[in-house]
């Protein structure tokens, strides 16, 4: 029997009004397809913008094998290792905001690209800062030589991670960046913000167009597959809005464009590559079903309830983990929510290079 119309018989998730999240935001689940499962023994490598740190943190907690290739020397107290950003991601690369940054990191790791800039002088002029991870080392490096020695260990660790991982989870964060005109090197932060000297002759602002992001992302993922053909990918887009835009327009307008481009790039990559999924953390946090409850007091950072929702679905769909459902956020008393936010602040300090940007 033929259909009355083409929507007849389609799954309920394709229809807005059928979404249980309308009544109970906590039940909102936009994950409808996946190409693979993550086994508890699978080595999972994480990278990307600040939001990726939450993914890493939950993987660490939930019994999955979050593969930490770059470890602190065992003599250090965990509190010191954390302070120096060991274990935040699989290697100490800090936030990787743009697809170009990921691509160049891979090229640098395998000796195919050597940027002109080695180290920047810190803002207090007492130490050396790594231009490609400017806030990774509290107090900076004592010399360029020390930075290079650390970088050598860092690159060895990344190579280990790339070649031994089973799953790579990458969170796309930004399209805006600063490019060194001399060699095309991309910096996560403009020189002068957390170190270095801003020289407009050498460093120019660039806002990647969607074609550039797609190309960079595909180049990076294909590069990884060359080194590790069996690796599976999960791509996400950070729901955290831009902290600042260098475009002459409102920061939220820039945010919308940036996130749209990243979402298209993730879609394109997931369609072109096998075993490459898009995971909708962006949608979980920003959808109207969530009623804006997943943003912190600054309306930018994602709160613990939002991260928990994202990761509950991530573990449910990819880990096959049947977790206890969180209580409905709809019924959460406001006072309790505030207290929880305060606790969150203490519970985890995430490294967000972008937050260093201000107009001061």
């Amino acid at each position: 029997m033929s259909k009355k119309h083409p929507y007849q018989g389609l799954p309920t998730y394709q229809f807005w009004k059928e979404e249980p999240g309308i009544e109970n935001p906590n039940q909102f689940d936009p994950v409808t397809k996946k190409s693979f499962l993550i086994d508890k023994t699978d080595a999972v490598v994480t990278a990307g913008s600040c939001f990726a740190q939450h993914v890493a943190r939950y993987l660490n907690r939930s019994g999955f094998n979050h593969f930490i290739a770059e470890t602190a020397h065992p003599m250090f107290f965990p509190v010191i290792a954390e302070k120096f950003n060991y274990g935040m991601f699989s290697a100490r690369y800090g936030n990787i905001y743009t697809a170009r940054q990921l691509k160049q990191l891979l090229q640098r790791t395998y000796g195919e690209f050597e940027p002109i800039e080695i180290g920047w002088t810190s803002r207090d002029e007492k130490s050396i800062v790594d231009p490609f991870r400017p806030q990774i080392q509290p107090g900076g490096f004592v010399s360029e030589s020390e930075l290079l020695a650390d970088r050598q260990y860092h690159f060895e660790s990344i190579r280990t991670a790339i070649e031994q991982m089973d799953v790579f989870v990458f969170t796309l964060g930004l399209t805006e960046c600063w490019i060194d005109q001399r060699d095309g090197a991309v910096y996560p932060l403009a020189p002068g913000v957390a170190g270095g000297v801003y020289n407009p002759e050498n460093v120019k602002f660039h806002n990647f167009q969607h074609k550039e992001v797609i190309d960079d992302l595909l180049d990076a993922l294909n590069y990884i597959r060359e080194k590790n053909p069996a690796v599976k990918f999960i791509l996400t887009v950070s729901p955290v809005p831009l902290n600042a835009t260098a475009e002459d327009r409102h920061v939220f307008v820039s945010t919308t464009l940036s996130k749209s481009i990243l979402r298209i790039a993730a879609e394109e990559a997931s369609q072109q590559l096998n075993q490459c999924d898009y995971f909708p953390s962006y949608e979980i946090i920003t959808s109207p079903y969530s009623q804006g409850r997943y943003f912190g007091p600054d309306r930018r950072n994602v709160n613990e309830a939002g991260v928990a929702h994202v990761m509950r679905l991530f573990l449910k769909h990819y880990g096959g983990v049947a977790t206890v459902q969180n209580e409905s956020v709809e019924n959460e008393p406001i006072q309790e929510a505030k207290t929880e936010l305060e606790l969150e602040q203490q519970a985890f300090d995430i490294l967000c290079d972008e937050e260093a940007i201000s107009n001061q």
Partner: protein
């Protein structure tokens, strides 16, 4: 400068203070030395402020004080740098660009600032900075100097002679000399910064006690792997004499 008057000095310290105590004893014509000996455990077992109050008041009753010399918490660098760790590590020097280890490729690289923070945390856990503050309060009207711990001994053979000094440690695990020196410098840096914060003068190790590389000269070695002798103590007391 008055060098003829005998100086009343109170030496407050742990193991490294013996070089000063012995030097003062050998120079009674120049120094009237009293001392208070502490061990790390003293600050764990007691309410350290009350304990310090009691000890210092007790000693001050004997004499009119010219200077208090603090020689405390001087061994932390040895816990990092004297013996090789199970995973050997390498460290960079602050001023020169050399890798402070023999063979960096087989070593776990450790950022200098990170090791500094770790050492600082250990000193904090031992109440070092609170104790410094408490002692500073004790001597508000009297000169009070923090005496830098003596430099490390470079000669491995000397260290190896004292295999029973650290029971259970295989004696073939002495760390490379440059690593030992750099851990020492880091330790001194932390203590000097802490003293600076409370306006307590930090007296650097006498220049003449060190060889050109910065290690303790043989003539100042004590009969053990890490301490300096009374000749070294005399150098420090001469520094003090010049300051008073």
């Amino acid at each position: 400068m008055n060098v003829s008057k005998i100086k009343n000095i109170l030496i407050i310290g742990m193991s490294h203070s013996w070089s000063l105590i012995n030097a003062a004893t050998q120079n009674r014509n120049r120094f009237n030395g009293e001392h208070i000996q502490f061990k790390n455990e003293d600050f764990i077992e007691y309410d350290y402020e009350k304990y310090l109050d009691f000890q210092v008041d007790h000693k001050l009753a004997f004499t009119e004080l010219d200077a208090a010399l603090l020689s405390i918490f001087g061994n932390e660098h040895n816990s990092f740098g004297l013996f090789e760790k199970q995973v050997p590590f390498s460290l960079f020097n602050k001023t020169c660009d050399f890798n402070a280890s023999d063979n960096p490729t087989r070593r776990h690289f450790v950022p200098r600032e990170m090791l500094k923070q770790q050492m600082k945390l250990i000193l904090e856990k031992r109440n070092t900075f609170l104790i410094l503050n408490a002692l500073k309060k004790q001597f508000l009207t009297k000169p009070c100097y923090f005496i830098c711990t003596p430099p490390p001994i470079a000669d491995e053979n000397h260290i190896l002679k004292f295999e029973n000094y650290y029971p259970g440690r295989p004696t073939n695990q002495i760390a490379p000399r440059q690593l030992r020196l750099e851990c020492y410098r880091l330790h001194c840096e932390i203590l000097a910064e802490a003293c600076d914060l409370i306006d307590m003068p930090f007296l650097q190790s006498p220049v003449e006690a060190a060889d050109t590389d910065g290690f303790l000269k043989e003539t100042y070695w004590q009969d053990d792997p890490i301490h300096a002798n009374s000749k070294y103590g005399q150098l420090v007391l001469s520094q003090i004499e010049r300051l008073l």
